[in-house]
């Protein structure tokens, strides 16, 4: 280890001095990472617990209603464990979460987790398609803009992505519906599928596309895809704006590097130089911003979900916040947190794959 470091710094004469290759996968950073994840998760649980206790909404009143007697109120108060010391309440909460008990939703009377398992797949489906569209569009346009810096393709791309950034998404959504659904009739309207298909396919995974394939019902599959494509494109376009701008600036950084000159000197065409050399070097940075964009899409796009009557996570979270259904809200916050932690973990792992210097 020591020897290889010295050689890398060029302190030893180079003749035949080959640093010992470190091909063995280094496990220590992965252990450290798992530890970080555990600490972050704990912090997240503390946070959701505090949110649940600090919110002005009275959980007891929400259950028993305005007209309940004092006895009923106190009975529920004790049932919820609110008479115990706060640290004990926290441990009870911790135990509940670890055993998968997230409490009952006041609004529906069902376990919160069951409700969420209905809405989350809808959002994941939408967000995944949206990020696929957004990343493909954004990265391609960003590279095109960087390669043609200050010429017309660059200006065109910049205007296009600025539009995606600045048009309010509910407006784009309505215009999209008006144009592609009402006028051209190319895509399905609101909801996840045509209303007469609802209930035809068993709810196995919650992902409609997958469920309809499992059921072998292709009509439902096409209907679902048809309904998905417009909201996903609009979300994708809006998130592509940021990806485009970042890709462009990452790419410009790389184009000015010396190794690009080397590639040109070797006789590679500009296209080969861009994709075989420059692009490989921006993957790490791209992973970061695409993961973040994906994260915020998974958080739920309330506006687009509302416009398209999409029964998703964003709508669920918002409506429960408004009525003060704290069990649901706490669980949603927890899930969003877990999503971000997971995305970070994945992008860290991709770093290791994409950049040999971090191994």
């Amino acid at each position: 280890m020591r020897r290889s470091k010295i050689a890398r710094w060029g302190l030893l004469p180079a003749a035949g001095e080959v640093p010992a290759p470190r091909r063995k996968l280094n496990l220590r950073p992965i252990g450290a990472q798992l530890f970080t994840v555990a600490v972050t998760l704990f912090g997240l649980l503390v946070l959701t617990f505090v949110i649940g206790r600090m919110m002005p909404a009275d959980p007891v009143r929400a259950i028993v209603g305005e007209d309940a007697t004092r006895e009923t109120y106190e009975m529920v108060f004790r049932q919820l464990g609110l008479d115990r010391p706060i640290w004990e309440q926290f441990f009870i909460y911790l135990r509940d979460v670890l055993t998968g008990n997230f409490g009952v939703s006041i609004r529906t009377g069902q376990p919160v987790i069951q409700d969420i398992l209905h809405v989350l797949p809808a959002t994941i489906e939408l967000a995944t398609f949206a990020i696929l569209i957004g990343a493909t569009l954004g990265v391609t346009l960003g590279v095109v803009a960087a390669v043609n810096k200050d010429r017309w393709p660059d200006h065109l791309v910049r205007v296009f992505s600025l539009m995606g950034h600045s048009m309010p998404i509910f407006w784009t959504g309505m215009i999209g519906l008006l144009l592609f659904y009402a006028y051209f009739g190319w895509v399905g309207g609101s909801g996840r599928m045509e209303s007469f298909y609802i209930g035809l396919v068993d709810d196995v995974t919650g992902f409609l596309l997958i469920d309809s394939i499992i059921a072998g019902d292709w009509d439902v599959f096409w209907s679902a895809l048809n309904h998905l494509i417009l909201p996903a494109s609009i979300l994708g376009y809006s998130s592509s704006a940021y990806i485009t701008r970042m890709t462009r600036s990452f790419m410009l950084d790389q184009i000015n590097q010396e190794y690009i000159t080397t590639a040109r000197v070797k006789g590679l065409s500009s296209r080969q130089t861009i994709w075989r050399h420059a692009f490989l070097n921006i993957r790490v940075q791209l992973v970061t911003i695409v993961a973040l964009a994906y994260g915020s899409l998974l958080e739920g796009a309330v506006l687009i979900e509302t416009v398209f009557a999409w029964p998703g996570f964003g709508q669920y979270l918002t409506s429960n916040l408004l009525i003060g259904d704290m069990n649901a809200v706490m669980t949603c916050v927890l899930i969003v947190g877990v999503i971000f932690i997971a995305l970070n973990l994945i992008s860290d792992m991709l770093y290791r794959i994409f950049d040999p210097r971090t191994r």
């Binding site: 290889s4 050689a7 890398r8 710094w9 060029g10 030893l12 004469p13 180079a14 003749a15 035949g16 001095e17 080959v18 640093p19 290759p21 590097q257 010396e258 190794y259 000159t261 080397t262 590639a263 040109r264 000197v265 070797k266 006789g267 590679l268 065409s269 080969q272 075989r276 050399h277 490989l280 070097n281 994409f354 950049d355 040999p356 210097r357």
Partner: protein, 283 residues
């Protein structure tokens, strides 16, 4: 004449700036046979720009010349597609610092082999074998292992030898070395130069050595061009450098410390505005 690889007459490079053109290189003329030609000059004198203009690597610059003949080709008249077959195949360039000139996330061997794969139809295995034998030629031991290393895992000296291997692999006729040793330790410098010298002489390659190190060029090259403010102000045989006529060259020489020389102050170069006046030197 058949021995002339490169014939340059009145090469000018200019950049469009605010209110007209900025001339980075003015009226540079020289010919090159199978020899080692040094171009020296201070920072910004245009020596690197000359090197890159020969390969047409300056996308934003305007390059003009009365004549820019590389073997049978009129370089300035070639279309970009034809130029791709010249670059890296018949004319290549060794860049300054392997820390920056090698792609950090690709294995060094792959990068060497890529130079071959770009110009010759062959399998990956053949290219790999070619690259490994070239790595051997630049005196890298244990080539098989070095092939799979990443640039951050090799030392500067080794990186530069890898660069040389990459650029000589296709057996070009002309190599431009743009400050090939200025990023290296003094101890490694000589070794790299020796390898370069040996390969260039063995294969009869024309070499243009761009450097700011007067002593290096004097010892390494056959002829020297001295550039100042975008022009060649003087052309000399390396062995006759002490006979320099131009005050700029004389000034440069006088500012060189010498082993065993006195310990007094070295003279300081006094730049004169008239040195920037148009001057034509044929070399």
């Amino acid at each position: 004449m058949s021995d002339t690889i490169l014939d340059v007459k009145k090469l000018c490079v200019s950049y469009r700036g605010e209110g007209g053109y900025n001339h980075a290189v003015r009226n540079v003329s020289f010919t090159l046979g199978r020899e080692k030609l040094g171009i020296v000059g201070e920072s910004g004198s245009g020596k690197s720009t000359v090197g890159r203009a020969l390969l047409r690597l300056l996308p934003t610059a305007e390059i003009t010349a009365e004549k820019l003949r590389f073997e049978e080709l009129d370089v300035l008249a070639l279309r970009e597609k034809e130029m791709l077959k010249v670059r890296g195949r018949r004319m290549s360039m060794i860049l300054q610092d392997p820390k920056f000139s090698l792609n950090p996330i690709r294995r060094v061997g792959e990068q060497v082999a890529e130079a071959y794969l770009t110009h010759f139809k062959c399998s990956k295995a053949e290219a790999r074998a070619k690259a490994i034998s070239m790595l051997e030629a630049v005196q890298i031991r244990d080539c098989e292992r070095v092939y799979d290393l990443y640039p951050h895992e090799v030392s500067g000296g080794m990186g530069q030898r890898i660069m040389i291997a990459m650029m000589l692999l296709t057996d070009p006729d002309l190599v431009i070395a743009d400050e090939p040793t200025s990023a290296l330790d003094v101890t490694v410098r000589l070794q790299v130069l020796n390898i370069l010298d040996k390969l260039v002489s063995e294969r009869g390659i024309g070499l243009i050595m761009i450097s700011h190190d007067l002593n290096l060029v004097r010892n390494f090259c056959d002829r020297v061009l001295i550039m100042y403010a975008g022009q060649v102000v003087e052309s000399l045989k390396a062995s006759e450098l002490h006979l320099a006529q131009h005050p700029y060259t004389q000034g440069l020489l006088a500012a060189q410390p010498r082993i065993g020389g006195g310990r007094g102050r070295l003279s300081v170069l006094n730049r004169r505005p008239e040195w920037k006046e148009p001057i034509e030197v044929q070399a």
